[in-house]
């Protein structure tokens, strides 16, 4: 793509999310979402083939539906409160419709079906933007309306997302689908604590984005989109296999890596509010996620597929530049001792 045009489109995506995050007028928020959606379609379709077209179409249809539902919720809110300022949602119907709309945008169950298929159809870099940047805008709206969300719907969607994210990823070998299901599960964790302490939602979002960025960067570095091609990385850069191991274990939420911090804080917050069965269920279902991460580590770093060197070399035409990988690796694995610093967020 022409670099100037690509820059403009990327800036529009950024601007759209920024408008959503910084507006106080509901209409501007909706406009921000639409800008974001329209501008990201060309990014999703960087390579022009039927699979990308299908993925972009699915993304556009679901997100447009969600925007329309959001608009309906905004109008109902306007009818009942008479003003456009985003404070809290004044009508339970509007709250439910808005929660469903934002869940559709995030990919929470039962609106999660588009996430694996869209992520699979697009390139790794576009998938990276889809799974990290696009989650910021809906999550910021959820954060702002969090006092008025119906708790039953929120917790049901959260628990079901963790379940679906865990079980759905078990049968996958395509890396992008694995990351998609992992995203669904993490979104479930984030929304579970939204009603109790939204700061922890933001913490989880931050750490999730760091870990997903790291994973995608490592995949892009080895140009691998399937488990089989990822298992050849020991041949080219053996250090990458160790980094994949550490990051995957961190995503699975194993102490002492930093992926444990959001889970621990969320469990603590939920337990302090006297819900015990819910965090137990969530924690045990996160083990399903850990299982397919472990399977990836088994084929990548903990075993070495027997092969001679010259049989499995992959064509690599240019050295890919991976931005900021060392700081990302450090932050996605070693942040746990900094947990007492969370008190500054109050």
């Amino acid at each position: 793509m022409n670099p100037l045009i690509f820059t403009t489109i990327l800036m529009t995506v950024l601007l759209g999310t920024m408008i959503v995050m910084m507006s106080s007028h509901w209409l501007m928020i909706w406009i921000g979402f639409e800008m974001n959606l329209l501008a990201i379609i060309p990014i999703l379709m960087k390579k022009y083939n039927p699979r990308t077209m299908e993925a972009s179409t699915k993304y556009f249809l679901t997100q447009a539906t969600a925007s329309m539902l959001l608009m309906m919720a905004i109008i109902i809110n306007l009818m009942h409160s008479g003003q456009w300022t985003i404070t809290k949602v004044f009508n339970p119907t509007a709250s439910i419709i808005m929660t469903s709309a934002l869940a559709m945008k995030l990919g929470l169950t039962p609106f999660h079906f588009w996430v694996p298929e869209v992520t699979q159809g697009i390139s790794l870099t576009s998938g990276l933007i889809l799974l990290t940047w696009q989650k910021l805008a809906p999550m910021s709206i959820l954060y702002q309306i969090s006092p008025s969300i119906n708790l039953n719907i929120l917790l049901t969607m959260a628990v079901l997302s963790i379940l679906v994210g865990g079980w759905g990823g078990l049968n996958q070998t395509q890396l992008r689908k694995i990351m998609a299901y992992s995203s669904i599960a993490h979104m479930g964790w984030m929304t579970a604590v939204l009603a109790y302490n939204p700061t922890l939602t933001m913490l989880n979002m931050l750490i999730y984005i760091m870990m997903t960025l790291t994973m995608f960067m490592l995949f892009i570095h080895s140009s691998s989109t399937t488990t089989l091609s990822l298992s050849h990385t020991w041949n080219k850069t053996p250090l990458t296999t160790t980094l994949i191991l550490i990051t995957l274990l961190s995503m699975g939420g194993l102490p002492p890596l930093s992926g444990f911090m959001p889970k621990w804080m969320i469990i603590q917050e939920l337990t302090k509010n006297s819900s015990i069965i819910l965090p137990t269920l969530m924690a045990i279902m996160a083990l399903l996620n850990l299982y397919f991460y472990m399977r990836l580590t088994y084929s990548t770093s903990l075993t070495m597929f027997p092969s001679t060197n010259n049989m499995k070399m992959k064509w690599q035409f240019e050295t890919k530049r991976i931005t900021l990988l060392p700081p990302l690796i450090v932050m996605s694995s070693l942040l746990l001792p900094l947990t007492p610093m969370l008190s500054i967020l109050d």
Binding site: L254, P255, P256, W264, T271, I284, L302
Partner: protein, 459 residues
Amino acid sequence: MLKIIIPTIMLMPLTWLSKKNMIWINTTTYSLLISLISLSLLNQPSNNSLNFSLMFFSDPLSAPLLVLTTWLLPLMLMASQHHLSKEPLIRKKLYITMLTMLQTFLIMTFTATELISFYILFEATLVPTLIIITRWGNQTERLNAGLYFLFYTLMGSLPLLIALISIQNLTGSLNFLLIQYWNQALPDSWSNIFLWLACMMAFMVKMPLYGLHLWLPKAHVEAPIAGSMVLAAILLKLGGYGMLRITTMLNPQTSFMAYPFLMLSLWGMIMTSSICLRQTDLKSLIAYSSVSHMALVIVAVLIQTPWSYMGATALMIAHGLTSSMLFCLANSNYERTHSRTMILARGLQTLLPLMAAWWLLASLTNLALPPSINLIGELFVVMSSFSWSNITIILMGANITITALYSLYMLITTQRGKYTHHINSIKPSFTRENALMALHMTPLLLLSLNPKIILGFTY
């Protein structure tokens, strides 16, 4: 406590910066020095604990376990030299780094004050162990073994996290030193029953309790020698240590909640001992014998009398040294014949007489011959369980008999009789191996002269 933790962490730069011919020498020497430092902790002047800081403390229960942990690292390094000799330098360094990381986490776990810190470090010990088992094990079954190990432990310990946080809500603090003084009886309700279960299941899986022990034979057999040693000697004792710490907070539910686990342990120790009599795989036999000995520890901890706590602590230390020594002996067989089948390497006394002496001593301590500390541990446990209920003497007696049977079976099969043809060309014992066995045996024998240091906090 930092005087032990910082040197252990610094063992990692030591391995990465050492020259090729000095890595084993450097790491073994310095880890031996660190273990000498930790010996000073055994001097516990009062009945109270030695408080080092807000985060670390040591009391007569954790000090022997800590000394055992630090003692074991040089032994693990010595035992691993042979099977790593063909690997490239970076992989040797990675292996030693994994062992050192595991050691650091274990030291911090045994001395943690705050129970959530204990939990995080308890879980943190899983990651290096998993990497050691799945990356450096020898057979394809090691992948399954690693998965079983990780998931059994995690399924048990996630409810523990939630239980600890809810206890923190109730009592305001999880600092172990404070809880000793606050201790109140838990009110009787259904949710407190689940709290009891949630607290104990993690340690039951780790011990392991008989019904949840499936991960142990897999993990022990598939792990390389250092992995087997650390699993048998220390990681199982983490479960015992955790149970000993947490049962102080869980009265009075323990009096009735303990019954199913007592039944499982009493039955399980006989079952696993009997399985040992039918094993063909040497490492598997030693693994099942670990389950059997740990079942005794579970019985002791759940009965909650002063004598049983003494027996549990002594048995943990004694079993750690004995089991680790048996794994080293089995490994010396494996390195020569590359097979773990017992009948393939018979009659070794003719070929390796000094090793036969170590086999004899190890088997004798395994069957708890007086005056070793194994006997002290088992005797105290048997006596206290007899006072808890007279009928258990039948099961305990049967267990002691069957333990003697399989220990002698293992000894006679591997050492006595005519040797098989194909092993008459094995290499004689290395000095390293003899040193390893001596370093295992010497603490065992010396401790029988002064067992009060390992008798725990009820002495």
